[in-house]
Protein backbone atom coordinates (compact mmCIF):
# COMPACT_ATOMS: atom_id res chain seq x y z
CA UNK A 1 0.00 0.00 0.00
CA UNK A 2 1.26 3.48 -0.84
CA UNK A 3 2.38 5.34 2.25
CA UNK A 4 2.77 8.72 0.61
CA UNK A 5 1.27 9.90 -2.68
CA UNK A 6 1.96 13.22 -4.37
CA UNK A 7 -0.12 14.26 -7.36
CA UNK A 8 0.49 17.31 -9.54
CA UNK A 9 2.22 19.24 -6.78
CA UNK A 10 3.08 22.79 -7.75
CA UNK A 11 4.92 25.35 -5.69
CA UNK A 12 5.64 28.92 -6.61
CA UNK A 13 7.91 31.47 -4.92
CA UNK A 14 6.71 34.74 -6.41
CA UNK A 15 7.16 34.46 -10.18
CA UNK A 16 9.40 31.46 -9.80
CA UNK A 17 7.76 28.07 -10.35
CA UNK A 18 9.90 25.77 -8.21
CA UNK A 19 7.81 22.60 -8.41
CA UNK A 20 5.98 22.08 -11.63
CA UNK A 21 3.62 19.13 -11.29
CA UNK A 22 5.33 16.52 -9.14
CA UNK A 23 3.84 13.00 -9.09
CA UNK A 24 5.50 10.66 -6.61
CA UNK A 25 4.49 7.54 -4.74
CA UNK A 26 6.43 6.19 -1.78
CA UNK A 27 5.58 2.76 -0.40
CA UNK A 28 5.92 1.59 3.17
CA UNK A 29 9.60 0.82 3.84
CA UNK A 30 10.74 2.24 0.53
CA UNK A 31 13.83 4.40 0.19
CA UNK A 32 13.56 7.08 -2.48
CA UNK A 33 16.53 9.23 -3.50
CA UNK A 34 16.01 12.58 -5.19
CA UNK A 35 18.93 13.70 -7.32
CA UNK A 36 19.40 16.71 -9.53
CA UNK A 37 21.27 19.98 -9.80
CA UNK A 38 21.03 22.67 -7.14
CA UNK A 39 17.81 24.59 -7.61
CA UNK A 40 16.03 21.68 -9.28
CA UNK A 41 13.48 21.66 -6.43
CA UNK A 42 14.65 18.75 -4.26
CA UNK A 43 14.73 20.68 -0.99
CA UNK A 44 11.47 22.45 -1.67
CA UNK A 45 9.78 19.12 -2.41
CA UNK A 46 10.88 17.76 0.98
CA UNK A 47 9.74 20.91 2.79
CA UNK A 48 6.35 20.65 1.06
CA UNK A 49 5.88 17.04 2.13
CA UNK A 50 6.55 18.10 5.73
CA UNK A 51 4.12 21.04 5.28
CA UNK A 52 6.86 23.53 6.13
CA UNK A 53 5.83 25.12 2.83
CA UNK A 54 2.21 25.21 1.66
CA UNK A 55 1.72 23.95 -1.88
CA UNK A 56 -0.11 25.97 -4.52
CA UNK A 57 -1.65 23.13 -6.48
CA UNK A 58 -1.97 19.33 -6.38
CA UNK A 59 -2.44 16.98 -3.43
CA UNK A 60 -0.35 15.08 -0.91
CA UNK A 61 -1.90 11.98 0.64
CA UNK A 62 -0.50 10.30 3.74
CA UNK A 63 -2.04 6.88 4.35
CA UNK A 64 -4.84 7.92 2.03
CA UNK A 65 -5.62 11.15 3.88
CA UNK A 66 -5.20 14.43 2.02
CA UNK A 67 -2.82 16.38 4.25
CA UNK A 68 -2.37 19.19 1.77
CA UNK A 69 -5.93 20.38 2.22
CA UNK A 70 -5.84 23.96 3.47
CA UNK A 71 -6.65 24.02 7.18
CA UNK A 72 -5.22 20.58 7.87
CA UNK A 73 -3.25 20.69 11.12
CA UNK A 74 0.42 20.71 10.09
CA UNK A 75 1.59 19.82 13.58
CA UNK A 76 -0.11 16.44 13.40
CA UNK A 77 1.66 15.72 10.13
CA UNK A 78 5.05 16.82 11.40
CA UNK A 79 4.95 14.44 14.33
CA UNK A 80 4.54 11.61 11.80
CA UNK A 81 7.07 12.84 9.21
CA UNK A 82 10.53 13.76 10.46
CA UNK A 83 12.98 15.92 8.54
CA UNK A 84 16.73 16.46 8.89
CA UNK A 85 18.35 19.51 7.33
CA UNK A 86 21.64 20.13 5.57
CA UNK A 87 22.70 22.64 8.25
CA UNK A 88 21.77 20.44 11.25
CA UNK A 89 19.73 23.25 12.89
CA UNK A 90 20.34 21.97 16.38
CA UNK A 91 19.28 24.35 19.15
CA UNK A 92 22.63 25.78 20.28
CA UNK A 93 21.51 26.65 23.80
CA UNK A 94 20.56 23.05 24.63
CA UNK A 95 22.63 19.94 25.16
CA UNK A 96 22.31 17.08 22.70
CA UNK A 97 19.95 15.27 25.08
CA UNK A 98 17.83 18.40 25.63
CA UNK A 99 17.61 18.89 21.86
CA UNK A 100 16.26 15.39 21.51
CA UNK A 101 13.81 15.51 24.42
CA UNK A 102 12.23 18.92 23.79
CA UNK A 103 9.67 17.87 21.19
CA UNK A 104 8.58 14.59 22.84
CA UNK A 105 8.08 16.52 26.06
CA UNK A 106 6.18 19.48 24.62
CA UNK A 107 4.36 17.82 21.71
CA UNK A 108 3.76 14.28 22.90
CA UNK A 109 3.58 15.17 26.60
CA UNK A 110 6.25 12.66 27.64
CA UNK A 111 7.70 13.09 31.09
CA UNK A 112 11.50 13.37 31.31
CA UNK A 113 11.82 10.31 33.56
CA UNK A 114 9.89 8.06 31.18
CA UNK A 115 11.98 9.35 28.24
CA UNK A 116 15.39 8.95 29.83
CA UNK A 117 15.75 5.24 29.04
CA UNK A 118 14.60 5.28 25.41
CA UNK A 119 16.53 8.44 24.59
CA UNK A 120 19.70 7.02 26.04
CA UNK A 121 19.14 3.86 24.02
CA UNK A 122 18.73 5.95 20.89
CA UNK A 123 22.00 7.80 21.51
CA UNK A 124 23.67 4.49 22.24
CA UNK A 125 22.39 3.01 19.01
CA UNK A 126 24.13 5.70 16.99
CA UNK A 127 27.29 5.71 19.08
CA UNK A 128 26.74 9.04 20.83
CA UNK A 129 25.89 8.00 24.37
CA UNK A 130 28.98 9.75 25.73
CA UNK A 131 27.99 13.02 23.98
CA UNK A 132 24.50 13.39 25.42
CA UNK A 133 25.51 16.20 27.79
CA UNK A 134 27.48 18.15 25.18
CA UNK A 135 26.35 21.35 23.55
CA UNK A 136 26.24 21.46 19.73
CA UNK A 137 29.33 23.67 19.48
CA UNK A 138 31.26 21.01 21.40
CA UNK A 139 30.42 18.39 18.76
CA UNK A 140 31.91 17.72 15.33
CA UNK A 141 29.75 18.29 12.28
CA UNK A 142 29.16 14.59 11.86
CA UNK A 143 28.15 14.22 15.49
CA UNK A 144 25.83 17.21 15.26
CA UNK A 145 24.12 15.73 12.22
CA UNK A 146 23.68 12.42 13.99
CA UNK A 147 22.14 14.22 16.96
CA UNK A 148 19.78 15.96 14.53
CA UNK A 149 18.75 12.55 13.17
CA UNK A 150 18.23 11.22 16.68
CA UNK A 151 16.14 14.29 17.46
CA UNK A 152 13.85 13.53 14.54
CA UNK A 153 13.71 9.82 15.38
CA UNK A 154 12.73 10.52 18.99
CA UNK A 155 9.30 11.50 17.70
CA UNK A 156 8.92 7.96 16.29
CA UNK A 157 8.11 9.20 12.79
CA UNK A 158 6.61 6.96 10.11
CA UNK A 159 8.58 8.63 7.35
CA UNK A 160 11.97 10.37 7.45
CA UNK A 161 13.01 13.10 5.03
CA UNK A 162 16.71 13.93 4.60
CA UNK A 163 17.70 17.13 2.88
CA UNK A 164 21.31 16.81 1.65
CA UNK A 165 22.39 15.98 5.15
CA UNK A 166 26.02 15.30 4.25
CA UNK A 167 26.60 18.35 2.03
CA UNK A 168 27.83 20.59 4.86
CA UNK A 169 30.21 17.99 6.27
CA UNK A 170 33.93 17.60 5.86
CA UNK A 171 34.55 14.57 3.60
CA UNK A 172 36.00 12.44 6.38
CA UNK A 173 32.79 12.87 8.42
CA UNK A 174 30.36 11.88 5.67
CA UNK A 175 30.81 8.19 6.31
CA UNK A 176 29.57 8.16 9.91
CA UNK A 177 26.34 9.90 8.89
CA UNK A 178 25.74 7.57 5.93
CA UNK A 179 26.23 4.66 8.32
CA UNK A 180 23.26 5.93 10.30
CA UNK A 181 21.17 5.92 7.14
CA UNK A 182 22.25 2.36 6.35
CA UNK A 183 21.18 1.36 9.83
CA UNK A 184 17.74 2.99 9.36
CA UNK A 185 17.38 1.36 5.97
CA UNK A 186 18.11 -2.01 7.53
CA UNK A 187 15.40 -1.34 10.13
CA UNK A 188 12.87 -0.72 7.38
CA UNK A 189 12.30 3.02 7.79
CA UNK A 190 10.42 4.73 4.96
CA UNK A 191 12.77 7.46 3.69
CA UNK A 192 12.99 10.18 1.09
CA UNK A 193 16.45 11.68 0.56
CA UNK A 194 17.71 14.59 -1.44
CA UNK A 195 21.35 13.76 -2.01
CA UNK A 196 24.48 14.33 -4.03
CA UNK A 197 26.02 11.06 -2.83
CA UNK A 198 25.48 9.05 -6.01
CA UNK A 199 27.42 6.05 -4.80
CA UNK A 200 25.25 5.88 -1.73
CA UNK A 201 22.03 6.27 -3.72
CA UNK A 202 23.14 3.53 -6.04
CA UNK A 203 23.99 1.25 -3.15
CA UNK A 204 20.84 1.59 -1.07
CA UNK A 205 17.95 3.29 -2.84
CA UNK A 206 14.91 1.40 -4.06
CA UNK A 207 14.04 4.20 -6.41
CA UNK A 208 15.97 7.19 -7.74
CA UNK A 209 14.21 10.27 -9.11
CA UNK A 210 15.99 12.80 -11.26
CA UNK A 211 14.58 16.29 -10.79
CA UNK A 212 15.07 19.04 -13.32
CA UNK A 213 13.30 22.38 -13.48
CA UNK A 214 10.79 21.40 -10.83
CA UNK A 215 9.70 18.16 -12.50
CA UNK A 216 10.60 14.53 -11.99
CA UNK A 217 12.18 13.91 -15.34
CA UNK A 218 13.04 10.31 -14.79
CA UNK A 219 12.22 7.76 -12.14
CA UNK A 220 13.80 4.30 -12.03
CA UNK A 221 15.59 1.79 -9.83
CA UNK A 222 19.21 2.87 -9.36
CA UNK A 223 20.57 0.06 -11.47
CA UNK A 224 18.62 1.36 -14.43
CA UNK A 225 18.90 5.07 -13.91
CA UNK A 226 22.63 5.19 -13.31
CA UNK A 227 23.59 2.83 -16.13
CA UNK A 228 20.95 3.41 -18.79
CA UNK A 229 19.33 6.80 -18.26
CA UNK A 230 16.43 7.32 -20.61
CA UNK A 231 16.64 11.10 -20.78
CA UNK A 232 19.34 13.16 -22.39
CA UNK A 233 19.38 15.59 -19.46
CA UNK A 234 19.81 12.82 -16.92
CA UNK A 235 22.71 11.55 -18.89
CA UNK A 236 24.25 15.05 -19.05
CA UNK A 237 23.78 15.51 -15.28
CA UNK A 238 25.34 12.17 -14.43
CA UNK A 239 28.25 12.66 -16.80
CA UNK A 240 29.06 15.98 -15.16
CA UNK A 241 29.35 14.20 -11.82
CA UNK A 242 31.71 11.52 -13.02
Amino acid sequence: MAKLVLQGVRKRFGQNLVLDGIDLTVSQGEMVCLIGASGSGKSTLLRCINLLEPIDDGTIHLDGVDISEPGYDPQAVRTRIGIVFQSFNLFPHMTAAQNVMLAPRRVLGRRPEEMAGPVEALFDRFGLKHRMGHYPDQLSGGQQQRVAIIRALAMSPEIMLFDEITSALDPELVGEVLDVLRQLRAEGMTMVLATHEMGFARELADTVCFLDGGRILERAPPGTLFTQPREERTRAFLSRLL
Binding site: N50, L52, P74, Q75, A76, R78, T79, G82, I83, F85, S87, N89, L90, F91, P92, H93, L102, A103, R106, V107, D137, R151, A152, M155
Partner: protein, 284 residues
Protein backbone atom coordinates in the same frame (compact mmCIF):
# COMPACT_ATOMS: atom_id res chain seq x y z
CA UNK B 1 73.48 13.41 37.36
CA UNK B 2 71.15 15.13 34.97
CA UNK B 3 69.81 13.23 32.09
CA UNK B 4 71.09 14.96 28.95
CA UNK B 5 67.91 14.19 27.03
CA UNK B 6 65.74 15.77 29.64
CA UNK B 7 67.95 18.84 29.79
CA UNK B 8 67.72 19.22 26.06
CA UNK B 9 63.93 19.09 26.09
CA UNK B 10 63.72 21.63 28.88
CA UNK B 11 66.06 23.98 27.05
CA UNK B 12 63.95 23.66 23.94
CA UNK B 13 60.72 24.62 25.71
CA UNK B 14 62.28 27.34 27.89
CA UNK B 15 64.48 29.17 25.42
CA UNK B 16 62.49 31.90 23.64
CA UNK B 17 62.61 31.82 19.88
CA UNK B 18 64.00 34.74 17.93
CA UNK B 19 60.47 35.77 17.09
CA UNK B 20 59.40 35.73 20.74
CA UNK B 21 62.36 37.89 21.72
CA UNK B 22 61.52 40.35 18.98
CA UNK B 23 57.85 40.51 19.99
CA UNK B 24 58.72 40.94 23.66
CA UNK B 25 60.98 43.86 22.75
CA UNK B 26 58.20 45.45 20.69
CA UNK B 27 55.76 45.02 23.57
CA UNK B 28 58.14 46.64 26.04
CA UNK B 29 58.72 49.53 23.66
CA UNK B 30 55.03 50.27 23.05
CA UNK B 31 54.35 49.92 26.78
CA UNK B 32 57.01 52.50 27.54
CA UNK B 33 55.65 54.87 24.91
CA UNK B 34 52.09 54.53 26.22
CA UNK B 35 53.20 55.15 29.81
CA UNK B 36 55.32 58.11 28.77
CA UNK B 37 52.61 59.86 26.78
CA UNK B 38 50.03 59.26 29.53
CA UNK B 39 52.35 60.78 32.12
CA UNK B 40 52.97 63.73 29.82
CA UNK B 41 49.24 64.44 29.42
CA UNK B 42 48.50 64.07 33.14
CA UNK B 43 51.50 66.24 33.95
CA UNK B 44 50.29 68.93 31.57
CA UNK B 45 46.81 68.89 33.14
CA UNK B 46 48.19 69.05 36.68
CA UNK B 47 50.60 71.78 35.72
CA UNK B 48 48.56 74.02 33.44
CA UNK B 49 44.96 73.83 34.65
CA UNK B 50 45.82 75.40 38.04
CA UNK B 51 47.52 78.20 36.13
CA UNK B 52 44.17 79.26 34.68
CA UNK B 53 43.09 82.54 36.33
CA UNK B 54 39.78 81.09 37.56
CA UNK B 55 41.23 77.87 38.93
CA UNK B 56 41.19 78.95 42.55
CA UNK B 57 37.48 79.84 42.34
CA UNK B 58 36.67 76.59 40.53
CA UNK B 59 38.60 74.57 43.07
CA UNK B 60 36.74 76.20 45.95
CA UNK B 61 33.40 75.74 44.22
CA UNK B 62 33.74 72.20 42.83
CA UNK B 63 36.57 70.50 44.68
CA UNK B 64 36.11 71.75 48.19
CA UNK B 65 37.49 69.12 50.57
CA UNK B 66 35.61 70.43 53.56
CA UNK B 67 32.28 70.52 51.77
CA UNK B 68 33.00 67.07 50.36
CA UNK B 69 33.63 65.62 53.80
CA UNK B 70 30.52 67.23 55.18
CA UNK B 71 28.14 66.14 52.43
CA UNK B 72 29.46 62.77 51.21
CA UNK B 73 27.81 60.59 53.90
CA UNK B 74 24.45 62.25 53.24
CA UNK B 75 24.89 61.66 49.52
CA UNK B 76 25.69 58.00 50.06
CA UNK B 77 22.56 57.62 52.12
CA UNK B 78 20.49 59.34 49.44
CA UNK B 79 22.00 57.02 46.85
CA UNK B 80 20.29 54.13 48.61
CA UNK B 81 17.01 55.65 47.36
CA UNK B 82 18.36 55.46 43.81
CA UNK B 83 19.39 51.86 44.33
CA UNK B 84 15.99 50.94 45.75
CA UNK B 85 14.13 52.58 42.85
CA UNK B 86 16.43 50.82 40.40
CA UNK B 87 15.92 47.47 42.07
CA UNK B 88 12.16 47.52 41.83
CA UNK B 89 12.07 49.07 38.37
CA UNK B 90 14.53 46.68 36.69
CA UNK B 91 12.50 43.44 36.93
CA UNK B 92 9.33 45.24 35.90
CA UNK B 93 11.12 46.71 32.89
CA UNK B 94 12.50 43.32 31.88
CA UNK B 95 9.05 41.74 32.11
CA UNK B 96 7.14 44.51 30.34
CA UNK B 97 9.85 44.80 27.69
CA UNK B 98 9.54 41.10 26.99
CA UNK B 99 5.74 41.31 26.76
CA UNK B 100 5.90 44.27 24.35
CA UNK B 101 8.53 42.52 22.23
CA UNK B 102 6.27 39.45 22.01
CA UNK B 103 3.29 41.65 21.13
CA UNK B 104 5.27 42.99 18.19
CA UNK B 105 6.06 39.47 17.03
CA UNK B 106 2.61 37.87 17.04
CA UNK B 107 1.63 36.58 13.63
CA UNK B 108 -1.99 35.58 14.08
CA UNK B 109 -4.22 38.06 12.22
CA UNK B 110 -6.71 38.14 15.08
CA UNK B 111 -3.99 39.52 17.29
CA UNK B 112 -3.09 42.33 14.89
CA UNK B 113 -4.29 44.95 17.41
CA UNK B 114 -1.59 43.67 19.77
CA UNK B 115 1.05 44.19 17.11
CA UNK B 116 -0.24 47.66 16.42
CA UNK B 117 -0.22 48.43 20.12
CA UNK B 118 3.33 47.16 20.48
CA UNK B 119 4.55 49.29 17.58
CA UNK B 120 2.74 52.40 18.82
CA UNK B 121 3.96 51.86 22.33
CA UNK B 122 7.62 51.65 21.39
CA UNK B 123 7.35 54.59 19.01
CA UNK B 124 5.73 56.83 21.59
CA UNK B 125 7.89 56.03 24.58
CA UNK B 126 11.15 56.01 22.68
CA UNK B 127 10.19 59.32 21.14
CA UNK B 128 9.74 61.20 24.41
CA UNK B 129 12.38 62.63 26.72
CA UNK B 130 12.35 60.58 29.92
CA UNK B 131 12.00 63.63 32.13
CA UNK B 132 8.84 64.63 30.27
CA UNK B 133 7.25 61.25 30.91
CA UNK B 134 8.29 61.45 34.55
CA UNK B 135 6.56 64.82 34.87
CA UNK B 136 3.43 63.90 32.98
CA UNK B 137 2.84 60.61 34.76
CA UNK B 138 4.35 61.59 38.11
CA UNK B 139 2.16 64.64 38.55
CA UNK B 140 -0.61 63.91 36.05
CA UNK B 141 -1.93 60.56 37.18
CA UNK B 142 -2.00 61.36 40.92
CA UNK B 143 -3.76 64.60 39.94
CA UNK B 144 -6.75 62.51 38.94
CA UNK B 145 -7.55 62.30 42.63
CA UNK B 146 -6.02 59.04 43.76
CA UNK B 147 -5.96 58.62 47.54
CA UNK B 148 -2.78 58.03 49.49
CA UNK B 149 -0.65 56.01 49.27
CA UNK B 150 -1.62 55.36 45.65
CA UNK B 151 -0.63 58.83 44.52
CA UNK B 152 2.95 58.47 45.71
CA UNK B 153 5.54 59.99 43.36
CA UNK B 154 7.61 56.86 43.95
CA UNK B 155 4.92 54.71 42.34
CA UNK B 156 4.15 56.94 39.39
CA UNK B 157 7.68 58.13 38.82
CA UNK B 158 8.84 54.53 38.79
CA UNK B 159 6.04 53.67 36.39
CA UNK B 160 7.26 56.42 34.06
CA UNK B 161 10.76 54.92 34.08
CA UNK B 162 9.34 51.44 33.58
CA UNK B 163 7.22 52.53 30.62
CA UNK B 164 10.07 54.33 28.87
CA UNK B 165 12.75 51.76 29.50
CA UNK B 166 10.47 48.84 28.64
CA UNK B 167 10.10 50.39 25.18
CA UNK B 168 13.87 50.34 24.69
CA UNK B 169 14.24 46.86 26.15
CA UNK B 170 11.41 45.64 23.91
CA UNK B 171 13.21 46.91 20.83
CA UNK B 172 16.43 45.28 21.92
CA UNK B 173 14.70 41.95 22.56
CA UNK B 174 12.90 42.21 19.25
CA UNK B 175 16.18 42.72 17.45
CA UNK B 176 17.40 39.65 19.32
CA UNK B 177 14.38 37.67 18.13
CA UNK B 178 14.97 38.85 14.57
CA UNK B 179 18.61 37.79 14.81
CA UNK B 180 17.66 34.14 15.33
CA UNK B 181 17.92 32.46 11.95
CA UNK B 182 14.67 31.29 10.39
CA UNK B 183 16.12 27.77 10.17
CA UNK B 184 15.78 27.51 13.95
CA UNK B 185 12.07 28.15 13.66
CA UNK B 186 11.87 25.66 10.79
CA UNK B 187 13.63 23.01 12.84
CA UNK B 188 11.27 23.57 15.74
CA UNK B 189 8.23 23.50 13.47
CA UNK B 190 9.41 20.31 11.78
CA UNK B 191 9.40 18.64 15.19
CA UNK B 192 5.77 19.61 15.64
CA UNK B 193 6.37 22.37 18.20
CA UNK B 194 3.67 25.01 18.35
CA UNK B 195 4.46 28.67 17.63
CA UNK B 196 4.30 29.50 21.30
CA UNK B 197 6.61 26.64 22.30
CA UNK B 198 8.99 27.55 19.49
CA UNK B 199 9.19 31.08 20.84
CA UNK B 200 9.50 30.03 24.45
CA UNK B 201 11.96 27.17 24.18
CA UNK B 202 13.90 27.84 20.99
CA UNK B 203 13.88 31.49 19.94
CA UNK B 204 13.66 33.50 23.16
CA UNK B 205 16.43 31.80 25.15
CA UNK B 206 18.86 32.42 22.30
CA UNK B 207 17.57 35.92 21.57
CA UNK B 208 17.82 37.07 25.17
CA UNK B 209 21.31 35.70 25.52
CA UNK B 210 22.37 37.46 22.34
CA UNK B 211 21.12 40.84 23.50
CA UNK B 212 22.24 40.60 27.12
CA UNK B 213 25.08 43.12 26.66
CA UNK B 214 22.80 45.62 24.93
CA UNK B 215 20.26 45.27 27.70
CA UNK B 216 22.98 45.65 30.28
CA UNK B 217 23.84 49.02 28.75
CA UNK B 218 20.19 50.03 29.00
CA UNK B 219 20.12 49.16 32.66
CA UNK B 220 23.24 51.23 33.25
CA UNK B 221 21.44 54.14 31.62
CA UNK B 222 18.44 53.43 33.85
CA UNK B 223 20.62 53.66 36.95
CA UNK B 224 21.50 57.19 35.90
CA UNK B 225 17.98 58.18 34.89
CA UNK B 226 16.60 57.20 38.29
CA UNK B 227 17.84 60.67 39.28
CA UNK B 228 15.05 62.12 37.14
CA UNK B 229 12.54 61.09 39.79
CA UNK B 230 13.95 63.92 41.90
CA UNK B 231 11.94 66.32 39.74
CA UNK B 232 8.70 65.07 41.25
CA UNK B 233 9.74 64.95 44.88
CA UNK B 234 11.82 61.98 45.98
CA UNK B 235 15.02 63.12 47.63
CA UNK B 236 17.51 60.84 45.94
CA UNK B 237 21.17 61.60 45.47
CA UNK B 238 20.82 64.24 42.75
CA UNK B 239 18.25 66.19 44.75
CA UNK B 240 20.20 65.79 47.96
CA UNK B 241 23.27 67.17 46.20
CA UNK B 242 21.12 70.06 45.00
CA UNK B 243 20.01 70.81 48.54
CA UNK B 244 23.59 70.85 49.74
CA UNK B 245 24.55 72.99 46.79
CA UNK B 246 21.86 75.50 47.66
CA UNK B 247 22.67 75.58 51.36
CA UNK B 248 26.41 75.88 50.87
CA UNK B 249 26.39 77.76 47.56
CA UNK B 250 28.92 75.16 46.45
CA UNK B 251 28.93 72.60 43.65
CA UNK B 252 31.20 70.07 45.35
CA UNK B 253 28.24 67.85 46.37
CA UNK B 254 27.54 67.31 42.66
CA UNK B 255 31.10 66.09 42.20
CA UNK B 256 30.55 63.75 45.14
CA UNK B 257 27.34 62.46 43.54
CA UNK B 258 29.16 61.98 40.24
CA UNK B 259 31.83 59.90 41.96
CA UNK B 260 29.19 57.68 43.55
CA UNK B 261 27.48 57.15 40.20
CA UNK B 262 30.79 56.34 38.52
CA UNK B 263 31.69 53.85 41.23
CA UNK B 264 28.65 51.85 40.11
CA UNK B 265 28.46 52.54 36.39
CA UNK B 266 32.10 52.13 35.38
CA UNK B 267 32.42 48.53 36.63
CA UNK B 268 29.00 47.77 35.16
CA UNK B 269 29.97 49.25 31.79
CA UNK B 270 33.23 47.33 31.78
CA UNK B 271 31.33 44.15 32.54
CA UNK B 272 28.89 44.77 29.70
CA UNK B 273 31.79 45.35 27.34
CA UNK B 274 33.37 42.13 28.52
CA UNK B 275 30.12 40.23 27.85
CA UNK B 276 29.87 41.74 24.39
CA UNK B 277 33.46 40.89 23.62
CA UNK B 278 33.02 37.32 24.79
CA UNK B 279 29.88 36.95 22.71
CA UNK B 280 31.54 38.29 19.56
CA UNK B 281 34.34 35.82 20.03
CA UNK B 282 31.90 32.97 20.46
CA UNK B 283 29.97 33.90 17.33
CA UNK B 284 33.00 34.28 15.11
Amino acid sequence: MPNPDQGGAAALSAAPTRREIHEARLRRRSGAIAAGSTLLVIGAIVLFVPMAPGWEAVRRSFFNAEVFRKTFPGLLEAFLVDVAIFLWCAPAIALLGLVIALCRDVRAPALFPLRLFGALYTDVFRGLPVVLVVYLIGFGVPGLGLPRPWNSPYIWGSLALILVYAAYVAEVIRSGIDSIHVSQRSAAASLGLSEADTMRYVVLPQAIRNVAPANMNLFIALQKDVALLSFIGPVEIFRQAGVYKSLLANFTPYVGAALIFLAITIPATRYADYLLHRQRRRQS
